[in-house]
């Protein structure tokens, strides 16, 4: 049995949840143009992560997390040129630079950080290969997925809220008519200013995003901020359907009749 599909239909958070609940062991491959990653799990815990992008070395990660100093980093890098990551880790622990728990904790944080962008992907292929284990030359961690899943779910929720607020990027923006408001006196960051400069009923949000090189989520965040600040309003194209309130659905309860069901069972058994 394979476990594969597209993140369009099955979010990364849902996948992690499935792996967590089913205590799965194996490797999850997630790919989309320009990015490929492999996440290894053992009994539902994340043990290893790698992506096609250049990965910081163990020494660099430990330096960034202040477990070793920059000068120690330089010295160790010169000394440990041939060793694998696992050997470097063992050396650091034995030499008293850090405890094993500290190294594992830092690696877990690093993997979680590197995985974070994948949570918001809404497209990309995935497949799970049962039985694959972490590479022998790397340090396996035991990262519990519960917090990652919660974090991913929160990010997805934010995206859902943004999508509800800005349902289509094919809509345009116009400045609100607020006499006396001087937009130059409002504190906006550089990205918001870039977006503001293209606000025009002729430009769709999608076009503004393309011009300002913002992805779908980033442009929604900026537009949402501008909407909240009351600076712009969305112009909905004609013909866009308006959501109707939910309607109460009629409920029919069939007459319960045990002998009837038993007769049906007997009949189907005899087919």
């Amino acid at each position: 049995m394979t476990l594969k599909g597209n993140l369009k239909d099955f979010t990364f958070t849902q996948l992690l949840n499935l792996i967590n609940l089913a205590n799965k062991s194996g490797a999850l491959y997630v790919e989309r143009p320009g990015f490929a990653s492999r996440v290894v799990f053992q009994n539902g815990k994340l043990t290893f992560f790698e992506s096609g992008e250049e990965k910081p070395s163990l020494l660099k990660i430990l330096t960034d997390h202040q477990l070793i100093t920059a000068s120690q980093h330089r010295l160790l890098r010169e000394r440990l040129t041939e060793q694998s990551e696992r050997e470097i880790g063992i050396y650091l622990v034995n030499a008293g630079y850090a405890t094993l728990d500290q190294v594992l904790e830092v690696l877990e944080k690093e993997y979680a950080n590197q995985l974070r962008p994948v949570f918001t992907w809404d497209d990309g292929f995935f497949r799970f290969e049962t039985g694959e284990v972490s590479p022998e030359d790397r340090i396996p961690v035991r990262l519990d997925l519960s917090n990652l899943i919660l974090e991913g779910a929160r990010e997805l929720q934010e995206i859902e809220e943004l999508k509800a607020e800005i349902p289509s990027l094919e809509m345009a923006l116009k400045f609100t008519e607020r006499p006396g408001t001087d937009i130059r006196k409002i504190n906006l960051n550089s990205t918001e200013w870039r977006v503001i400069s293209y606000v025009n009923p002729k430009n769709t949000i999608e076009q503004i995003a393309a011009t300002t090189k913002l992805d779908e989520i980033e442009i929604r965040r900026v537009v949402y901020t501008l909407l909240q600040a009351g600076l712009v309003e969305i112009i909905r194209p004609d013909g866009m359907p308006v959501a109707l309130p939910g309607q109460a659905l009629p409920v029919n309860k069939p007459k319960e009749n045990r002998p009837l069901i038993k007769r049906l069972i007997d009949r189907i058994r005899s087919i």
Partner: protein, 186 residues
């Protein structure tokens, strides 16, 4: 004597295997409202059900079971409410090898359950395909409660379809038991 008719509804996303399911056990040729597909994205098969499929199993002179298959495409969902009226229970067919349909299957399940809170189960169809998801993985993917039955199914095999129908009927009996114990009946 007047013949009593009861019905079970077979629902699920487009191309899940609903028509085939009914065809496997119906004693009459399935009365189908299939039409040639002209919409390119749905051309994974030649025809599709546009109103309903209709199969029949005669129990005896005074009892007949009808199997109604719903159209799988969302644009025909106005039929769902009509078909769900008075059903004994329903079966949600899901193509185990097409995870892209799982979300829709979940949505159909919730809709039908809202129309009529009758017993139901999920049939994980096409389990014979190489790409088929494991049934327990599908349970998690569809966010099914542990109490909801999800059964492996091959709609082209009569024995497999019989098993699914029987499990639904067992669920209906169990539901009656629960209802009676809640009411304090023996």
């Amino acid at each position: 004597m007047q013949t009593q008719t009861v019905k079970i509804v077979i629902t699920g996303p487009f191309n899940a295997g609903k028509t085939e399911f009914i065809r496997s056990v119906s004693e009459i040729d399935v009365v189908s409202t299939e039409r040639k597909i002209t919409y390119a994205p749905e051309k994974v098969k030649e025809t599709t059900t546009v109103a309903m499929d209709f199969g029949r199993i005669t129990v005896d002179n005074d009892l007949v079971l009808f199997l109604f298959g719903t159209p799988g495409q969302k644009r025909f969902d106005f039929m769902w409410e009509i078909l769900s009226e008075g059903m004994l229970g329903f079966i949600v067919m899901v193509d185990s090898a097409r995870p892209e349909t799982f979300r829709e299957a979940r949505s159909i399940l919730e809709t039908f359950h809202a129309y009529a809170p009758t017993p139901y189960l999920v049939a994980a169809n096409k389990q014979d395909l190489y790409d088929a998801w494991d049934v327990e993985d599908m349970r998690l993917a569809l966010r099914l409660d542990p109490s909801v039955k999800i059964l492996p199914c091959e709609a082209t095999k009569k024995s497999s379809v019989k098993n699914v129908l029987l499990e639904l009927l067992y669920s209906i009996l169990e539901e009656m038991d629960r209802h009676e114990s809640d009411q304090g009946q023996p």
